[in-house]
């Protein structure tokens, strides 16, 4: 009797008494640590922007100031002058958009098949699509290069678009599948009970619910295609290079001019980071929803 009360009493009291005390005191410490993480992780981003906007001579100051020293767009102008910027960006846009459109249409059909139909071989298809995502791009580059060479597609945007499907298509199928599975089948069935055809039920019920997921998948796919470097480097000649290769090759006769280079980096990164900020939450939610269940 006395033992139970002594065990239950103190620990209960201690538990409630300690918890708030514990929580309040070290909060400042945790926040300071959080600030350090913020500064360390954010520094490369900050330094890119800072260098891009500061006068080029301040960028090569032997005693550089950590704070912005002035605001100029001269570095951007120089970056655009040094090498053709809009050509590579235009090519990147054409390639990324085409890949996303083709990937979405083809991928949507496949995603529907593996998420809404049960058929013999379904499991093998799913494993196949997962496995295909795991093949390292570098392993593919030699045969793909030879294939495009044989087909006369080397240094052609069409060749690059088809090649990009190797990683965009499996990704699209798998991600869309995740979004489709989360839409209750009952909604579709209710529509069919009400007289919709299967296609009608899909168009009127599933598609509107799927739209945000489709947008997120497209944007994410676009980013992946836009950021690709290896295929773009290998399959396109210098004069038809895409944006990533443009930045990767950013050197001038005077060696590397870092301030204009950071301006170029900023121009490449800002639109992508903004797009990414818009869709990240949606993509991450889809991923972890599945992961925790497993």
């Amino acid at each position: 009797m006395s033992s139970t009360s002594s065990v239950g009493g103190p620990s209960g009291v201690g538990g409630t008494a300690v918890a708030p005390g514990r929580r309040r005191t070290p909060k400042l410490g945790w926040n300071l640590l959080g600030l350090v993480v913020f500064l360390v992780l954010g520094f490369p981003l900050y330094w890119m922007l800072d260098t891009a906007f500061k006068p080029a001579k301040d960028a090569i100051d032997p005693d550089p100031s950590l704070l912005p020293t002035g605001l100029t767009l001269a570095n951007f102008k120089r970056a655009l002058d040094i090498a053709d910027f809009w050509g590579p960006v235009g090519r990147s846009l054409v390639v990324s958009l085409s890949v996303v459109v083709i990937g979405m249409v083809v991928g949507m059909l496949a995603a529907l098949a593996i998420s809404r139909f049960a058929f013999r071989g379904r499991k093998i298809v799913i494993v196949g699509i997962l496995a295909v995502q795991m093949v390292p791009l570098v392993a593919m580059i030699i045969p793909v290069f030879l294939l495009l060479n044989d087909l006369g597609q080397y240094d052609k945007l069409t060749g690059l678009i088809v090649t990009y499907l190797t990683f965009i298509l499996p990704f699209t199928v798998w991600t869309l599948r995740g979004f489709i599975v989360n839409i209750p089948r009952e909604l579709e069935e209710a529509a069919m009970v009400d007289g919709c055809s299967r296609t009608g039920a899909f168009l009127r019920v599933v598609l509107p619910l799927l739209a945000p997921g489709m947008v997120a998948t497209s944007v994410y796919g676009f980013i992946q295609a836009w950021n690709e470097y290896l295929y773009a480097l290998m399959l396109m000649s210098q004069e038809h290079q895409t944006a990533t290769v443009w930045l990767g090759n950013f050197t001038t006769k005077h060696g590397t001019e870092y301030a204009p280079m950071m301006a170029g980096a900023t121009m490449m990164a800002v639109p992508i980071v903004v797009l990414f900020l818009l869709v990240q939450r949606k993509m991450a939610a889809g991923l972890t929803a599945g992961a925790v269940k497993g």
């Binding site: 909060k27 083809v106 098949a113 280079m261």
Partner: protein, 328 residues
């Protein structure tokens, strides 16, 4: 341990058992309305594209690695001839290849370990900071996650520049340290450490955000119960949090291994398109063999060996993903 052991099974089975019946009466309806051919018709375009851009090159990768294929074969002056295992013998008998393998493994192990430990630390930290600090860190995390790899690489190149890089300037402010002019890429290990830092910086956000989402799913009552049973902060983490997060951790680790064994642009761009011998990792080595030495066959053999090396990790990842697939 006991707390986790009793809860994990209790948490998992319900979703795992519930869906299968639904999944199995699904098929009957579509079959009635659309026929067994419908799913294959829907899949056809996708499979066709994948056969062209994936299956064919993969088969070609295998055949290439058993052939002699260099410049003359590329231009079509000579046909490719079969050489059996000669390419593999040449690659495996080359001491440089093994040095590259070892370097890649050490690099990947270091990067994965750093990524996972730092990612977990930051994820746990974010649970303890004030909401505004959490938002601040999250913004930086997502922004750096979204940075194109090539952009991040050029920025790191600038940070670590020997003459004007901010890092050397800051280090030199420390008493007795003179780092201005120090070339971080003069030696392989030091240069690769910088590249590892770049890889980790790029990978940590994904890990933090994924683990952070997982951490919100850890039942508070369980942690509370463990604490009442006398577990310290480490005990709660080790025996409650970690087992519950295990599926996510397995997935993140396997993915990280696959990514970090496959670094290419970071090394390639950092070294201006010509990585020196002491910077070669498997992927750049394979690329080098194929496109610099023009021995496409040996390059293929190296790529194939890399894939084989990764198979085990991929298998673990796939099993984890399929478990998830089953649940749904």
């Amino acid at each position: 341990m006991s707390a986790a052991d009793t809860t994990t099974p209790a948490k998992v089975p319900p979703p795992r058992q519930a869906p299968p019946p639904a999944a199995w009466d699904r098929p009957r309806r579509p079959r009635g309305s659309g026929g067994a051919a419908t799913p294959w018709l829907l899949l056809a375009p996708c499979l066709l594209v994948l056969a062209l851009v994936m299956a064919y090159p993969l088969v070609r990768l295998v055949t290439l690695s058993f052939q002699k294929f260099g410049q003359p074969q590329l231009w079509g002056f000579q046909g490719a001839t079969w050489v059996g295992f000669a390419n593999f013998r040449a690659v495996l008998g080359d001491g440089e290849f093994w040095a590259v393998v070892l370097r890649t493994l050490v690099f990947a192990a270091g990067a994965v370990l750093l990524t996972m430990v730092l990612g977990m630390a930051v994820a746990l930290l974010l649970q303890r900071v004030s909401p505004w600090m959490k938002t601040l860190v999250n913004i930086v995390l997502v922004a750096s996650w979204g940075m194109p790899v090539i952009v991040a690489t050029t920025v790191f190149k600038w940070l670590f520049d020997s003459d004007y890089g901010i890092l050397n300037a800051l280090l030199s402010k420390l008493p007795g340290v003179h780092m201005i002019g120090h070339n971080w890429f003069a030696s392989g290990p030091q240069g690769l450490a910088v590249i590892m830092l770049l890889v980790v910086w790029g990978a940590v956000p994904f890990v933090v955000i994924t683990l952070g989402a997982g951490l919100t799913q850890v039942p508070k009552e369980l942690e509370e119960a463990a604490r009442l049973d006398g577990a310290g902060a480490w005990g709660v983490f080790r025996y409650v949090t970690l087992p519950i997060l295990k599926p996510i951790i397995v997935m993140l680790t396997t993915l990280s291994v696959i990514w970090d064994m496959g670094v290419f642009p970071q090394v390639f761009v950092m070294r201006g398109g010509h990585p020196e011998a002491e910077f070669q990792v498997l992927n750049t080595y394979s690329y080098d063999r194929a496109f610099q030495v023009n021995d496409y066959a040996q390059g293929s053999a190296i790529a194939l060996l890399t894939v084989v090396l990764l198979l085990g990790v991929v298998a673990v990842y796939m099993r984890q993903m399929l478990k998830i697939g089953d649940v749904e």
